[in-house]
Subunit: 462 residues, 2 copies
């Protein structure tokens, strides 16, 4: 890699080559996983390049292609799986500057890939009381392009399912990695080619996302003496078609008391909770339903006058639950499980209960038209072997694990080749220069996902 020659060719485009800064911006929240921490800690790019528009992206990709320099795209680096970490070095392509909100219409927003989710919502709310359908718990820091390329759902999935479901992304502009990069517009089923592909097969330069009505969501926490009651309540609430919520998150005792420090005065050690976001106009119905289900509202933001210092509900949920636990107890890590419908409640009790070191944390979602839940169970980490054993037992019991301790698309996902993404990569990145090492199907087409081993990208061999 002739980085110096590349730099000369990128004259006029913003570049950062201070090694300390480059290393810092070559990382994401991979350290949530002790496994990824060990594997990826040394990873760094050679150069951060920050194009300000699509024309500059095209220039960067053409130059990198001609020099054979890998390019790993990055939004704000809030992923947890090393999605944006440059395993083969080279250029980290920061899309953070391309953060304009370009157009807002009923049900739609068009923006640059680097726009921060909360900033998009501020613009769409001010324009027409609209907001994004889905966001991760890193709402205030994550970029929309990074969310699409590296995320899968989150807050709002209780209403709209996942990011890869038809309709949850409207359109993407994508630049290919070729001598003469092409700009493609993708919509409909073509979106699947690049959503959740970690930027391995094209660089997103514009997104068009669906919007929903924006409300001043009210954070409410409901307490239960038994976690099974909390889970059952969460499931029943999610099945209330007329009660508009945006988040339904059961967390088992003692995690709320131990880790939700700023809410501690509302909690006690034995309390399991369900963290909710409720539309203001649904509050009466929510309260009546909760009373009927014998849930105890222990926190209702609409009734608590002094909320200073309290994080929003979504920062107690999804991967922020893990973050809060990690801050208190660095030996905590997590898994991501699906409890398939219609057996979700039984499976939670049975499978989470197999492991003394697991504390249940659920996220209710719509999934293929049904209400079910994902789990982000907190796991007290001992060894990688034990973690793998836990993963295996979840899967043996019928709960797929989306393993957050793997940096490849396949191992963190469906454990099989995504033929559509692979075919698209052949066209869009024929030299395999985009985010190398993340798509096993590309690196090692004959890889056996049932080997029980972890894929090791050759670029990481030391």
């Amino acid at each position: 890699m002739d980085i110096e020659a590349l730099k000369r060719e990128l004259d006029g485009i913003r570049i950062e080559d201070n090694p300390a800064i480059v290393q810092q911006r070559s990382r994401d929240f991979y350290w949530y996983s002790p496994v990824l921490k060990r594997q990826l800690e040394h990873v760094t790019g050679d150069l951060i390049v920050s194009p300000k528009d699509e024309a500059e992206v095209v220039r960067v990709l053409a130059a990198c292609f001609s020099h054979g320099v890998p390019v790993t795209p990055r939004g704000t680096g809030t992923g947890n799986y090393g999605q944006a970490m440059p395993l083969s070095g080279g250029v980290v392509l920061s899309l953070a500057e391309m953060n304009e909100v370009r157009a807002i219409a009923p049900g739609r927003v068009v923006c640059g890939p680097g726009a921060i989710l909360a900033d998009i919502d501020r613009a769409t709310k001010a324009h027409s009381a609209q907001e994004l359908r889905l966001h991760p718990s890193t709402y205030n820091t994550a970029s929309i392009g990074g969310f699409i390329a590296g995320g899968s759902g989150g807050v709002g999935s209780i209403n709209f399912g996942g990011l890869r479901d038809f309709g949850n992304v409207i359109r993407l502009r994508v630049v290919t990695m070729e001598a003469d990069p092409k700009v493609l517009e993708l919509s409909g089923e073509d979106l699947h080619k690049v959503t959740h592909a970690y930027g391995t097969n094209g660089i997103i330069t514009e997104v068009e996302m669906p919007l929903a009505a924006a409300y001043d969501w009210v954070d409410v926490i409901v307490g239960f003496d038994r976690f099974s009651d909390a889970a059952r309540y969460g499931n029943a609430l999610a099945c209330q078609d007329g009660i508009l919520t945006k988040l339904i998150t059961p967390v088992a005792a003692p995690a709320p008391w131990l880790y939700f420090k700023r809410h501690q005065k509302f909690l006690h050690e034995g309390l399991s909770v369900v963290v909710c976001m409720v539309a203001p106009h649904a509050l009466d119905a929510f309260r009546a339903f909760t009373r009927r289900e014998r849930g105890k509202v222990i926190f209702d933001a609409s009734l608590v006058e002094d909320r200073k210092g309290l994080p929003p509900a979504y920062e107690l949920a999804w991967n922020h639950t893990t973050l809060r636990a990690l801050r208190v107890d660095p030996s905590i890590t997590y898994l991501q499980s699906l409890y398939p419908f219609p057996h979700q409640l039984d499976l939670v009790e049975r499978v989470d209960g197999l492991f003394p070191e697991v504390t249940s944390h659920l996220e209710f979602v719509r999934f293929d038209g049904n209400i079910t839940c994902f789990g982000l169970p907190l796991v007290k980490f001992t060894t990688e072997q034990r973690l793998d054993e836990i993963v295996r037992l979840y899967e043996d019991n019928g709960c797929p694990i989306f393993n957050p301790h793997r940096y490849t698309l396949e191992e963190g996902g469906m454990k099989q080749t995504d033929e559509i993404q692979l075919a698209f990569k052949r066209r869009a990145d024929p030299q395999g220069l985009l985010n190398p090492g993340k798509m096993i199907a590309w690196e090692n087409p004959g890889y056996d996902y049932r080997s029980g081993k972890t894929f090791l990208f050759k670029g990481l061999e030391r």
Copy 2:
């Protein structure tokens, strides 16, 4: 009943006593049912009273109470079960004049009971791009109070379930029928006391309803050679959490060709269809999904320039399907069935298929958090005995029938006493003067719903 004395007491309140007009306004669309047509044709009130505000409602009720005159409330008379027909004569209380839209806020509208659904939406759309969550196919003529008191769901139920689900009505003001009528505000679980009670236990004088984001819904019709494929497609579309629709209505051949006259040029005799309303920003995804499912879009309002004379999609659906069939073939009537989740598709095929005189018509909805469908099968009527036999066979096969050939709450509903409504009626209408004959539990507490007989209100005996 001393109607003349009552009239004097109502001085200053708008009254109509022309017998022809009174009879006309004592009717609803009960004639969809040949059974109700026979039973109720002679029903008429003595007087139409049209209060202009709540104070006048209170005056009317007090006066009627003191004279022992029955009061049957009425919106615009678009019901199908004689809900608003005064079985014991007396006053028909028209709430049509109380049609003001009083307040609009994010997620909420407050209005009088007589406000027409389409008029409410015109106001809320102009105010803040919002619209009602649910409406019947009689959107352009039905009143909100009548919908709440006599309806159960409709267009939009695919997103929000039914009217009686928590959250689909926010608040009601209700006037009781006593010497000194009380004005009550009901919310939360108390709403159940008066929703879908046909006005038997209080007169609604104000409603507060939840709103959703308003869109310029696009009418699309998808065609299939086999009805089972249409039903399967409708179910799969309903399970697409990211594709925002408001209506998913499969109708079996040859009904579309025979009865959707204005759309006939898009149809042919053997074509079964799925009538949809799709949000504009979901169209790309809808089309991609429909292609994948091998559905053929035979009508897309966004691509048809001359739509003059074409009714909106919702006027092909719910009970407008029946109406269109009736207009062509007066021997057609219908039933209302539920195909319980998760066996809805099998049940449709099995149960509708039992009867040569039944043509399938489904409406996909959310029901307790699941996607399933109601049926409004078109039935070629021969005799009441045969109709009862069909009802029995539906129920024997596990498909509850909400019988539209009965004028009582119980027989058209759950075939059991609604203890909450009955208890509330004891307080709110101690003399049983509100819409007599509609609540069996009141008229005949010992009634045996399993007798197989039809309840005959004594006031209808001749």
